[in-house]
Amino acid sequence: MSASRSLILPPEPRPTARQLLRRWGLRLAAFLIAAWSLGPFLWQVSTAFQPDALLMASPPHILPWPGTLEHFYNVFAVKHFQYYILNSAIVALATTAFCLVFGLLAAYALARFDVRGRFGVLGVILSISMFPQIAIVAPLYLFMSSVGLLDTYTVLVIVYLALGLPLVVWVLFGYLQSIPRDLDEAAKIDGAGPIRILVQIILPMALPGVVTTGLLAFIAAWNEFMFALSFTSGIAHQTIPVGIANFQNLYYVPWGDVAAASTVVTVPLVLLVLGFQRRIIDGLTQGAVRE
């Protein structure tokens, strides 16, 4: 961070007016970015704390005052949203774990072995992710129903794994390419097998990339709606987006409750992103240059 500071600060002192202009310009730009990104979300957080009758107030009621915790009460005590969160956590964590293991093995194979036509393989992997998802829901539904997997965690994990792997393999492939080969060559001479090299040498070095791709896979699984809606029934296996859709009773959408629920599920993700952001950006940095 301190190194990039030298980017803005020219090597020799310049007229302070220009420096000031630049500094304030950056601050303004940063403020605009934050306002654009957070504005709608903050409005929603505010909605989550407002009584229903204020939602349609004209002019719109922006600050949550007088506030209420009614919507959060409804979300947890009445609609048992914690079960959906638990289901989402189980599905997303399992998806992430398998995605990383499978993706790492595949990326390792493509990046470290002389696989003929590796770009062909990468191309096929990319093209798989191009097929419209709405077109594979129905045939998969029939298939999963015939093998008795409907309404299980397993079915969601398998599908999200297949949807998430292309991105994971691409990013991890780029990342592994950037790790110097000297180390695993040395280990190879010492007689280490491929799996040992992967676990003991590559994995520790690739950790930032693994964390990044893991987070990408996690968010995708956490937020997916259509497969979750079609493949699960009942609160025992439904995930957060389906849970939020379930709030709707016939036509009535309890928007305050929806806002509260989405606040509850977004804030942890934001904290997660905040915690991992260095690693996310580092991970993508390595991956992005390579392909």
Partner: protein
């Protein structure tokens, strides 16, 4: 000791060589088996259905050759949706790239609370899509939406705009919603790309007396180009399948003005349960996407070679 080790080492090398085709294959199996296992059957099934007239309701199931594709080429609704999809994909990818690049350039500089702003930037991406679409329904509501309220209040427009109810604005509004939601992903990729550009280059340029603009245009942008194109490709492929936002916000209307290939396919496959024709639509989408990817690749590969040379 050394003698005892030697054969083992040789044997180890031997195994590596023998296994040079087997090991990567074994490593690839879990990932490829999952992807192929889940995707191949539906894709082939879709391809097969697209040459048939299949209906669960009327119990018909017969081979009709290319009839579905012939029908598709003459179907005004298909081309209407095709144009909207292409316009949406082009516009949203373009805006997201420009805006994402701007954000990345800002967030790459140092300023107070940079970490917090970087995290804030990612918020739109973290909100569940089911919620985003409804949220935009509220914000852009033509009569009581916050957006019209702010625009009228600030004097930028004199009358409320019917964001979703006018065919002139509906697609634009959906593009705005998508740009809001997905720009963070672009910005993140581009920020990562910017950070790989060696800092020594910047210093060298400034010492040579280059302006910030010259540095950006002649050094940074060309170096960023491969990342930018790949990010744009991934984004375009995703934007081409736009579904949730449209389906929740406008249902394809008014007057089909926001119908996209995904919503049309969904209606045909799920609502009307016309499996044959719906599968032909899905396959046509797949082919168009492959063409987009190909066009990007043709554009991308020479540039990547030039940059790496």
């Amino acid at each position: 000791m050394a003698e005892a080790l030697a054969p083992r080492l040789a044997g180890g090398r031997e195994r590596w060589r023998v296994g040079s085709w087997l090991t990567p294959l074994l490593l690839l199996i879990p990932a490829c088996a999952t992807m192929l296992g889940v995707s191949v059957y539906p894709i082939l099934n879709g391809l097969w259905l697209s040459f048939r007239d299949t209906s669960l309701i009327s119990q018909t199931d017969k081979f009709v050759g290319a009839a579905n594709y012939v029908k598709l080429l003459a179907d005004g609704q298909y081309w209407n949706a095709w144009i909207h999809t292409v316009v949406f994909t082009g516009a949203s990818t373009l805006f997201e790239t420009i805006l994402g690049l701007g954000m990345a350039l800002v967030l790459n500089e140092w300023f107070e609370a940079r970490g917090a702003v970087r995290a804030a930037m990612l918020v739109p991406w973290a909100i569940p899509t089911v919620v985003t679409s409804q949220m935009f329904g509220w914000l852009f509501d033509g009569q009581n939406g916050l957006v019209n309220h702010i625009l009228v209040g600030s004097g930028l427009i004199s009358h409320n705009i019917g964001w979703y109810s006018s065919p002139d604005y509906a697609l634009l509004t959906i593009i705005i919603a998508d740009v809001w939601k997905t720009t963070p992903f672009m910005a993140l990729l581009l920020l990562a790309g910017l950070q790989t550009i060696p800092r020594s280059l910047a210093e060298a340029c400034y010492i040579d007396g280059a302006s910030a603009w010259q540095y950006f245009w002649h050094v940074r942008l060309p170096l960023l180009m491969p990342t930018l194109l790949i990010a744009a490709l991934l984004r375009a492929l995703d934007a081409f399948r736009i579904f949730d936002l449209v389906y929740v916000l406008t249902g394809g209307g008014p007057a089909d003005s926001t119908e996209t290939l995904s919503t049309l396919t969904y209606k045909t496959l799920f609502s009307a349960l016309q499996f044959g024709y719906g599968s032909a639509l899905a396959t046509a989408m797949f082919v168009t996407e492959a063409l987009i990817a190909l066009a990007f690749a043709l554009f991308l590969i020479p540039r990547m070679r030039r940059t790496s040379a």
